[in-house]
Symmetry: C2
Subunit: 213 residues, 2 copies
Amino acid sequence: MTIQLYCFGESGHSYKAALALELSGLDWEPVYIDFFNGETRTPQYRENVNEMGEAPVLVDGDVKLTQSAILQDYISEKSGKFDGKDKAEAREILRWQIWDNHKLSSFAGICRFMMNFLPENKRSDEVIAFLQGRLAGSYDILNKHLEGRDWIVGDSVSNADLTCCGYLFYEEPFGFDRAQWPNIDRWLSNIQALPGWKHPYDLMPGSPADRGL
Amino acid sequence: MTIQLYCFGESGHSYKAALALELSGLDWEPVYIDFFNGETRTPQYRENVNEMGEAPVLVDGDVKLTQSAILQDYISEKSGKFDGKDKAEAREILRWQIWDNHKLSSFAGICRFMMNFLPENKRSDEVIAFLQGRLAGSYDILNKHLEGRDWIVGDSVSNADLTCCGYLFYEEPFGFDRAQWPNIDRWLSNIQALPGWKHPYDLMPGSPADRGL
């Protein structure tokens, strides 16, 4: 059975699951969520697809899951990949996934949305500065951790990497400059060199170009 | 061996682990982190205690863990409590823990810090309004989910509850009013009625009163 991933190209949280699916070799297909026309905010979406009103959502037969880290856990269970070689590694991977959801992808997603997709009269320079300040601290932690390492945990790609990179391949400006963080830059190149790697806009339907931006 | 939890009273993230330890019946003791004098920002702390620069940290013999959800996982493994009755419940519990780290405790912690503990000349009304706007959406999702339920997942207290309540017992204003969210209010009362429940300031060292606030 083909796994369906409800997603859209601009969603770095969706990208985490899409990339895990693509690299895992599992059979999957994207289902487009019309986020920019408000699909995730409708009562129908909240009731039938995801009460948290978020993307992505994974559907595999009777199984329906949300929250990208939960999807990644499911993909690992089915494929045997990306979840570490033992319990200690698995816990360390989950630690970085939670950190990312708390301190990195969360702020990066909002900041990028605000700077690129929100009408200019709804943007707040103070909020953008606040988010970029929090993000600078997070880039610094990740960059330090990657000193002398090819991957965040262990000696191969894991869900920790596939989570933390969620928003870092997008070109739209949100205050992140790869050149400023050499270890992050090298690590992102490692991910890009994986067989089957694709940019979010090549992996999922929907992009700013599709919306005439 | 007594489990040590590096924590401080004002930290709702620490509270999640402290409450889990206390309710689990495991032998534990708090170790005070002097957060307000910058302990978590020192190079020593980042190098020796937690590279992410955060509280809480759990030490149990040779084991040292960070990120509250990881601590809760460890506490469940040792005590056999709070992690659901099967894999499906465990996944649903983790889903709410990740959502909380992404959308609830994260914003609540920052908002409360900014409104109560940051010098007034460093506060930004626009950032506070932004955070409260995000939080209102999160309270609404949690309140709807708790309609007709005593606990977030299954029919007893789990790590989902012990996570999402992290900041919701504090009295300092951060825009959360229990009376406005009747299902959240009832659910918080369920947690308070658990044998051994304690308020964060009674469970961990450090409080605004201790700092003369």
